[in-house]
């Protein structure tokens, strides 16, 4: 299919888009929370894929190839975006402060499992992640969020495995410090 698409067969490329767009969207959703940004990133991924089809040698899976392009595209978009300045307690909504306090005090998990609570938590996470560097965000998302093995993250990013481990170690520390600050602890 890749060969046909590379030869200019639009139907073949259309099939590639249809087959891999759920995967690309899933991955891009990890980095962007607005649908428009996710779509923009996904479109860029497919345009890059179209121009680079000749370099796809079919050695690895096409899904892996798309994941790699998506990771790099999202990382570049994050790098070009403006970072949110450091957050303080006053930047939190009442719901977000409540969620944090309850979670910290170890209130019954069930009480906070409703979809509304999840949305509050997701909003809050996005705010915290937006204050972090793109590299920290990437490694937290992939290693801690997606539970991707260090080796896989190294392959996706082109970093060494040691760099992935060190980056993850530092990113966890920075995330913990950011949350601690929001909790006022």
């Amino acid at each position: 299919m890749a060969k046909r698409a590379n030869a200019g067969d639009e139907d073949a490329f259309g099939e590639i888009v249809r087959r891999y767009s759920p995967r690309v969207f899933h991955f891009a959703s990890r980095f962007f929370r607005q649908r428009s940004l996710v779509e923009e990133a996904a479109q860029e991924v497919f345009l890059k894929a179209f121009t680079q089809l000749g370099s796809y040698e079919g050695r690895g899976s096409m899904e892996g190839w798309f994941t790699k392009i998506t990771t790099n595209t999202c990382l570049n978009l994050l790098r070009s975006a403006k970072r949110r300045p450091e957050m303080t307690v006053s930047d939190l909504s009442e719901d977000e402060s409540g969620w944090l306090e309850n979670k910290y005090s170890g209130a019954a998990e069930e009480e906070f499992k409703s979809s509304e609570r999840s949305k509050v938590a997701a909003d809050l996470t996005e705010k915290v992640l937006e204050t972090m560097s793109p590299d920290d965000r990437l490694v937290l998302t992939l290693v801690d969020g997606e539970d991707a093995p260090v080796k896989e993250v190294a392959e996706l990013t082109g970093w060494s495995e040691s760099k992935v481990k060190v980056q993850a170690f530092r990113a966890r520390k920075r995330m913990r410090e950011a949350v601690e600050k929001l909790l006022g602890k």
Binding site: E10, S21, Q43, L47, F50, A122, T125, G145, R176
Partner: protein, 153 residues
């Protein structure tokens, strides 16, 4: 278990990957250590935040496929960057180059004509030398007359 040990565990392993025995060991320590208890709780909150964020995902819209193919077609029609640039600015660049060449030809041509020696000044001799016939080359009547008139002026 030192505080350093607890934080290094929390930072070196994904929180969700901590085994039950890790949790037991940490809890045993945090029962008597407020700093470690705080670090452990905050790490738990951070992990929970990420988990909630990861639960969100977008599906491609029904028009996405069409949009991508339209963008691909547009890219194909654009062709190579140089050709595109040349199409846009080719006529302008050509006319500018032609104007420069024309200007250069006119400038150097006029300068050359101005620097060409006239017959009268090519082999200028003084009026005295002409009268005494002290010249190496034979002068035309016109040259002789113009030299004498210039000497009078």
């Amino acid at each position: 278990m030192s505080e350093q040990h607890i934080t290094s565990i929390l930072e070196s392993i994904r929180f969700a990957s901590l085994s039950e025995s890790d949790h037991l060991r940490i809890r045993a320590h945090t029962a008597n250590c407020d700093d470690c208890a705080r670090a452990y709780r905050v790490a738990s909150v951070s992990a929970s935040l990420l988990q909630n964020r990861m639960a969100e995902t977008f599906e491609p819209s029904p028009f996405f496929h069409t949009r991508v193919l339209a963008a691909v077609r547009e890219k194909q029609n654009e062709g190579p960057a140089f050709a595109r640039l040349w199409r846009a600015a080719g006529a302008l660049v050509s006319s500018m180059a032609a104007a420069v060449v024309l200007f250069a030809v006119l400038s150097f041509g006029v300068l050359d004509q101005q620097s060409l020696p006239t017959d009268a000044s090519a082999h200028a001799y003084s009026a005295e030398a002409l009268i005494l016939d002290d010249v190496e080359e034979e002068q035309t009547d016109g040259q002789v007359l113009s030299t004498l008139y210039e000497a009078d002026e």
